[in-house]
Symmetry: C2
Subunit: 299 residues, 2 copies
C-alpha cells in the first residue's frame, strides 16, 4: 500500500515524499527506544530492591529516576522531529501543486509543435501560442513560489531538527553526568563469606545528586546561533510583499526560539516562531498588507 | 518462544533477564533509527540536487554529510549499549549460578524438619545436619560472590552506558551546531517571477563548516568524572584476594577509559578497562595471585 501510494506522487515531490516517509520510521524508532528505556528504568529499580543489598537498592532506584528522565528526553526528541517533518510536508505540498503548471506548459508546447508539423496553416496555432504565453507566465509564478517556499522552509525545517538534536544532547549529557556520581556512591570493596557490606550511609548524597540534576535541567537554556531569515516579506502568494514589507525584510529576523522545561514533566515544545507569510484574510488585514491573489507583482 | 524461555530462568535472575531483553529491543530501535537517518542524509542530498537550485543543492549536500555523521554516532551508541548489556549478563549469570546453592540449603533444611517430625530418632538426622552445615558454608560463599560481582559489575555496566550517552550527546551537539551554520548560508530573500536568486557564492564557507566539524570531532576528548573501584583485589572465586592485593585495592582505581575517533570513519570503541579479576590460569599467573578455587578464604 505505502509503496503504491508513493508511486502516485507527482514526479516533482517524489524525493521529498520518500524522506518524509523515512523520517516517520526514524521517529517510530526513537519512540520505541524511549518506551523501552522508560520500562527498563522501572525494572532496574525493582531489580535493585530484589537483590536485598541496600546500597544496590538505593542507587538503582535513584539511577532509575535519571534514566527515566533521559528516556523522556528521547521521547521529546521524537515529538520535535514530528514538527520538523511537518515543515518538510509544506515544501512537498508546494512541489506537488507546481507540477500541473509544468505539465500544462509542456502539453501546450507539444501541441503547437505537432500542429505546426501536421497543419502548418491551422488558425489554432495562434490560439495555442497565446495560451502558451499564459501558461509560461503561470509557470514562472509557480516556479518562483516553489523557490521561495523551498528556501524558507528548508531553513525552518532543519533549524527545528538541529535544535532538537542539540537540546536532547545537552540535557541527556547533564543527566548522565549526574548519574555517574551515583555510581561512585557504591562501595565495591569485596567481602568474604559471612561478612556483610557496611550499611549504606550515602542516602543524603544520593538524594543530592537528584536535586542537582533537577536544578541543572531547570536552569538549562538552549544557546545556539540563531538562524536568520530574509523571508519576512513573503506574501500570501509566496511572492515578495509590498515595499513596506521589503524594508522590514531587509533586517534579518530570527526564526529560532525554543522554550525549555524543568525536571518535573511540564510539557515541552520545540517551537520556532516562523517569520511566515499570512495565510488567512484576517492575518493579512492585521498586517495591513495589500491583498495579493497569487498574481505576479512583476513579470 | 522468547517469553517461554524467560519463565525458565531461575527466580533469582528473572528481573535482570527481563532488563537484558528490553535493552536488546532498545538497541534494535537505535540501530533502526541510525539506519533510517543514514538513508535520509543520502536522500536529502539527492533531493537538493533535483531542485535545480544551486544554493539548496550545495547546502543540502553538505548538510547530508553532517546528518550522516550524526546518524553514525547513533549507531556507535547502539554498539556501546551492546557492551553494557554484556556486563549485565555477567551479573545475571552469577545470579543463575547461585540459585542451586540456595535451593540445596532449603531442601536439606526442609528434609531435616520433616524427618524430625516423622522419625525423631532417625540417625539420618545427624547426617543431614552435617550436610546442612556444608550447604550453609557453600551458600555463604555463593552469596558473598554474588554480592561482590553485583556491586562491581553494576558500576562497570552503567559506567559503560552513561559514558556512551555522554559521548553520543557531546559529539552530536558539535555536529548539529556546525550544521546550523550551513543553514545561515541560504539566502531566503523571496524573488519575483522571472527572477532568479543570485548565484551561490558560499562554497568556500560551506566547505569550511565541514572542515571545522571534522576538526572539532577529531579533537574531541571525553571528559567525565572517573568511576572509582575498590574491587581490584577481587580474586578468581569472586572473593577478596591476598593481602598484597588488598593493599593495591586500597587505592581506588579508575575503570573508565574511552578512546575517541575522528570524522573519517575510523573504528570507535567504547572501552572500559575494567579492574576485573583474572579469569584464566594464565592471567592468574601473570598477576602472581594465589590460586583460589572458589574456596572461602575465611568462613
Amino acid at each position: 500500500m505505502a509503496s503504491l501510494r508513493g508511486t502516485q506522487q507527482p514526479e516533482l515531490s517524489k524525493k521529498l515524499y520518500k524522506i518524509i516517509k523515512s523520517e516517520n520510521h526514524a521517529i517510530g524508532a526513537y519512540e520505541a527506544a524511549a518506551r523501552e528505556r522508560q520500562g527498563i528504568a522501572q525494572q532496574l529499580s525493582e531489580w535493585g530492591e530484589s537483590t536485598g543489598d541496600e546500597t544496590v537498592s538505593e542507587i538503582s532506584d535513584k539511577l532509575g529516576v535519571l534514566l527515566a528522565e533521559i528516556a523522556e528526553q528521547e521521547d521529546l526528541y521524537a515529538q520535535a522531529l514530528e514538527e520538523y517533518r511537518g515543515v518538510l510536508k509544506q515544501i512537498r505540498n508546494t512541489e506537488s501543486s507546481v507540477q500541473p503548471s509544468r505539465d500544462h506548459k509542456t502539453k501546450v508546447s507539444d501541441e503547437i509543435a505537432k500542429l505546426k508539423y501536421k497543419e502548418p496553416q491551422s488558425t489554432k496555432i495562434v490560439q495555442l501560442e497565446q495560451e502558451l504565453v499564459r501558461a509560461e507566465a503561470q509557470s514562472l509564478v509557480a516556479e518562483a513560489q516553489l523557490s521561495n517556499i523551498t528556501r524558507q522552509k528548508f531553513k525552518v525545517a532543519y533549524d527545528h531538527q538541529l535544535t532538537a538534536t542539540i537540546e536532547r544532547a545537552e540535557k541527556q549529557a547533564i543527566l548522565a553526568k549526574h548519574a555517574r556520581r551515583l555510581l561512585n556512591l557504591i562501595d565495591d570493596t569485596p567481602i568474604v563469606p559471612g561478612d556483610a557490606h557496611p550499611a549504606f550511609a550515602e542516602e543524603e548524597a544520593a538524594r543530592q545528586v537528584l536535586n542537582d540534576a533537577e536544578a541543572d535541567l531547570r536552569d538549562y537554556r538552549l544557546e545556539v546561533e540563531p538562524i536568520t531569515s530574509n523571508s519576512g516579506s513573503l506574501g500570501v502568494g509566496a511572492m515578495p510583499g509590498s515595499s513596506v514589507d521589503s524594508s522590514v525584510a531587509a533586517q534579518p529576523t530570527t526564526i529560532d526560539q525554543t522554550p525549555t522545561r524543568g525536571f518535573s514533566g511540564e510539557e515541552q515544545r520545540y517551537e520556532t516562531s516562523e517569520s511566515s507569510y499570512p495565510t488567512t484574510e484576517a492575518e493579512r488585514v492585521e498586517r495591513q498588507e495589500p491583498v495579493q491573489q497569487g498574481v505576479p507583482t512583476a513579470v
